[in-house]
């Protein structure tokens, strides 16, 4: 049997100019992965989330030094991968390359972030691509249901609010490339810049690459303008009729007065996992395995990525003929679970599950870099990478039951159903 050592003890943490750099060598020959991000704080009320999405798409479509084809050729002839995404209140970048190409790929990342062209012709194409994606999303029962639930719980200025796709399409039509330039100038800079690198690392080379990449970046600093609390409507039902969608997507959820960094998060996370975290959860056992009503049902805490208050959600897929039975069975499981809490056996089993799954989740250079990065963004110490498991193991049944009954209320659940509804 292997001796399991603390991963976090092997992490080097270096401040390189504006960048908090986390480095963890692991035994994967030739491969280097990284995950990083900057805070951009789009003004959500003014619809800047959409502008940010387009800005992120345009960053690698040409710089002041190279056109889009030269840029992509530099990456692709090395087999390197680099993706840039808008995610909530940040723009994130992830990638993977061979170790000997890492400095050149980092230099390209710097060029993309700091000297993008953001030109009109690429903007027009990016708008058209986004339009197609939004039309595809309009045809998705899952996206329609999730969006409708979020709009019952939050105002437009909350990071978990998802605007109606029709509204987003209308807003997209009115945007110009000037909006992109304004957003870039006002929001893009090395704000709260965090990057984690793992794999076949030469630590000195990584620090040098980060210095070359980030120390001369003098972008704008920006301030948060969003709200962090939910503003839910009274519990109710929403039906979204869609043609030719025989599998209904159902959401049962409500807002929670809880942030990811609150002490109650971990016990509530574990309670939610017992209810609907995996195949052997209460909901799956009852609604899928015993009653055979659904292909999948799960429970999650969501909307917590940006430090704001999130929500509890149950997601499931039901045939129209099984809708009433499925909803009844689900509500019944949730009510019983909140009323009585998990059993001692369930808690101990799921502690082992979560600890093991956490270990399994750290099995690629990309997943380790991603975890180091997300912990750092949340303000957690590097040691949390190892301490998470200990914190799970130390949870008591009383604590989990107390937090569950404090935060989850079956009476507060909103119900959303999207698909071809029963007559």
């Amino acid at each position: 049997m292997s001796v399991i050592t603390r991963i976090s003890d092997r992490v080097s943490e270096v401040d390189v100019g504006p960048c908090r750099l986390l480095l963890l060598p692991v035994d994967v020959p030739q491969v280097v992965s990284w995950a990083g991000s900057i805070a951009t704080y789009p003004n959500l009320e003014r619809g800047e989330a959409l502008v940010q999405t387009l800005t992120a798409d345009l960053l690698d479509k040409g710089t002041r030094l190279r056109d889009r084809f030269a840029l992509s050729d530099e990456l692709e002839r090395r087999g390197a991968r680099l993706t840039i995404n808008a995610s909530g209140l940040r723009i994130s970048f992830r990638g993977r390359t061979l170790e000997h190409d890492m400095p050149e790929v980092m230099a390209l990342l710097a060029e993309i972030l700091t000297q993008p062209l953001l030109n009109e012709s690429e903007f027009v194409k990016a708008k058209a691509r986004l339009n197609a994606s939004l039309e595809h999303a309009r045809d998705s029962t899952a996206q329609r249901a999730q969006g409708a639930l979020s709009r019952r719980l939050y105002c437009t200025n909350h990071p978990a609010f998802l605007p109606a796709l029709e509204d987003t399409l209308q807003a997209l039509a009115t945007l110009s490339v000037d909006d992109i330039h304004t957003f870039y100038k006002g929001h893009m800079g090395p704000n709260d810049l965090v990057m984690a690198m793992t794999g076949d690392l030469n630590l000195d080379a990584c620090v040098q690459a980060a210095e070359a990449t980030f120390t001369h970046w003098a972008g704008q600093s920006t301030q948060a303008t969003h709200v962090e609390s939910a503003s839910p409507e009274a519990p109710g039902q929403v039906q979204i009729p869609m043609k030719e969608k025989p599998a209904l997507d159902v959401r049962l959820g409500h807002a929670i007065r809880l942030r990811r960094t609150d002490a109650d998060w971990l016990p509530l996370h574990v309670a939610t996992y017992i209810l609907g975290g995996n195949f052997s959860s209460r909901l799956m056992k009852r609604v899928r395995q015993e009653l055979g009503l659904t292909y999948g049902i799960s429970a999650h805490l969501q909307g917590l990525a940006d430090g704001a208050e999130g929500y509890y959600s149950t997601s499931m897929s039901l045939g129209a003929a099984d809708l009433a039975r499925g909803l009844d069975a689900t509500r019944s499981v949730i009510e019983e679970f909140v009323r009585e809490g998990p059993s001692a056996k369930e808690l101990e089993e799921k502690k082992t599950t979560i600890a093991g799954a956490y270990q399994v989740g750290l099995s690629t250079t990309g997943s380790i870099a991603g975890r180091l990065h997300s912990n750092a963004v949340r303000g957690l110490e590097v040691a949390y990478l190892d301490e998470f498991v200990n914190e799970v193991k130390s949870l008591t049944l009383e604590r989990v039951r107390e937090v569950l009954s404090k935060h989850i209320s079956p009476a507060a659940l909103h119900t959303v159903v999207a698909g071809t509804l029963p007559e």
Binding site: M1, S2, T5, V26, D27, V28, V31, F69, S72, D73, E76, R77, R78, G79, R96, T97, L98, V124, K125, R129, N131, A132, E135, H136, R138, D139, S140, G199, M242, K243, E244, K245, P246, A247, N278, F279, S280, L291, G292, L293, T294, Y295, S317, G319, D322, E349, K350, T352, T353, I354, A355, G356, A357, Y358, Q359, V360, S363, T364, T365, G366
Partner: protein, 441 residues
């Protein structure tokens, strides 16, 4: 630090003749369990103290007869419902046991194979092996379980119907193949799923679930001696298959002309798919087709990205062929930008392919494709599950060594090979065109 444990000084199971080493290459050892023919692939990997245990059965929807379609997938579901030693009545539910130790557990079915896997902390590796060994020959396939699972599968089928692109893909295959079982969707035709009997599933199980129709892959922080010892203990007593299966894999007749289908969906999504009938994965042309795939649609330097996405005709474009045991399909797929027509996108695709057929790839395109593959090879070894998943597809295609010699095969591909396969396979009389547009649009 390395999580790989030191190899055993002595290997009792090997010394006593229980296993034969078939091949050792590219960091993978292939062993054969002499008592029943089970092949065991062992690939040590050191990133974390975890391992993936994956068992691949050579049975997929390509082995199903009309009237029994969906049997492979139905069986995949029932394999989690219980076996003699592992079942809810004994308090040893398979999902519960594996997930209680943190395993990521699942199974998938394709046209050529069914695989079951668990990625888990390495100290629980024996549990995964015990479960796979027990359900290989002792699955319960209970009637009550089957009826409950039938509704679950029908819901899964409905979920597929919700997605018009998924439906178009199924239609593409069932139009391109008329007699070969690749005609059937992996999940099966609805009327078959609704009516398939326990007896049929039992016969299907007894035809294909045997050690000599399976390959067990173990990737991770493992010691070969310990793995072989555990495999011997848990699988060694299983008998080999009594008779080889009679697979209904007919030869698909040559296609005489282009085939076309047009579908309309309720939303606003417009998609064009083209499937070209190509060779099987073990054919000598398969490597050149893989290079062709990269040149056509991998990244923003690729020809189709430049012709379709960069010009604002398509929001997304993709091309490629899943490795298949029998001659399969090479796909080109484009999601149209609103306002553009299928005709203009299709014309651009045909022109792009014709240009490649006439002039072949440039030296730079070939170099770029081969560099991408070199990097991909290193990336495939980054993570235990990823490597097991790639091995799984090679096993399904007919030879796990496709994984081991993949890069070597690709490096031997010349520009004239790419031109030749483009000319030989991407022809009008080999293609099926599938169009999806908005209803009334």
């Amino acid at each position: 630090m390395s999580y790989i444990r030191a190899a055993s000084d002595t290997d009792i199971d090997v010394e006593s003749g229980k296993f034969e080493l078939e091949e050792s290459t590219s960091g993978i050892e292939a062993w054969r369990l002499n008592s029943n023919g089970l092949r065991v692939l062992i690939a040590p990997q050191a990133i974390a103290p975890i391992a993936t245990v994956m068992i691949t059965y050579l049975v997929g929807s390509g082995d199903e007869r009309p009237g029994h379609t969906g049997a492979t997938h139905f069986l995949e579901h029932l394999m989690f419902k219980g076996s003699e030693q592992f079942n809810p009545a004994k308090g040893t539910d398979i999902f519960e046991l594996l997930q209680s130790v943190g395993a990521q557990v699942n199974a998938t079915t394709s046209k050529d194979r069914t695989n079951y896997y668990a990625t888990l902390p390495v100290q629980y590796l024996e549990l995964a092996l015990q479960i796979e060994a027990d359900r290989m020959r002792n699955a319960l396939l209970d009637t009550g379980d089957m009826e409950a699972e039938r509704t679950v599968i029908l819901n899964e089928l409905d979920r597929g119907l919700n997605d018009p692109i998924h439906n178009l893909y199924k239609e593409l295959w069932s139009t391109a193949y008329t007699t070969h079982p690749y005609h059937h969707p992996v999940i099966g035709w609805r009327k078959d799923v609704e009516s398939i009997s326990q007896d049929t599933l039992r016969k299907f199980y007894d035809t294909y679930y045997w050690p000599d129709n399976a390959t067990l892959s173990v990737v991770g922080a493992v010691d070969r001696g310990e793995i072989l010892s555990l495999v011997s203990r848990h699988f060694g007593g299983l008998p080999p298959m009594p008779v080889p299966p009679q697979r209904p894999r007919t030869t698909e007749p040559a296609q005489a002309a282009e085939r076309r289908i047009t579908k309309q969906g309720p939303g606003h999504v417009s998609v064009l798919m083209i499937g070209y009938r190509v060779c099987e994965a073990l054919h000598q042309d398969a490597a050149a087709l893989s290079i062709l795939e990269l040149i056509l649609a991998s990244g923003k330097s690729s020809r189709l990205w430049r012709r379709l996405t960069d010009t604002g005709l398509a929001a997304q474009v993709a091309a490629g062929a899943m490795p298949s045991r029998d001659p399969g399909l090479f796909h080109v797929m484009a999601m149209l930008v609103p306002g553009r027509t299928h005709a203009e996108v299709e014309a651009e695709i045909h022109e792009t392919i014709e240009e490649l057929q006439e002039t072949g790839p440039t030296p730079e395109e070939l170099r770029r494709a081969q560099s991408q593959l070199a990097a991909q090879e290193a990336f495939m070894r980054d993570g235990v599950f990823g490597m097991a998943a790639v091995l799984n597809e090679a096993i399904a295609a007919g030879d796990w060594r496709l994984f081991a010699f993949w890069r070597e095969h690709m490096e031997r591909v010349t520009a004239s090979d790419v031109t030749r396969v483009a000319q030989a396979y991407l022809r009008p009389d080999r293609r099926t065109v599938a169009i999806l547009g908005p209803r009334g649009g």
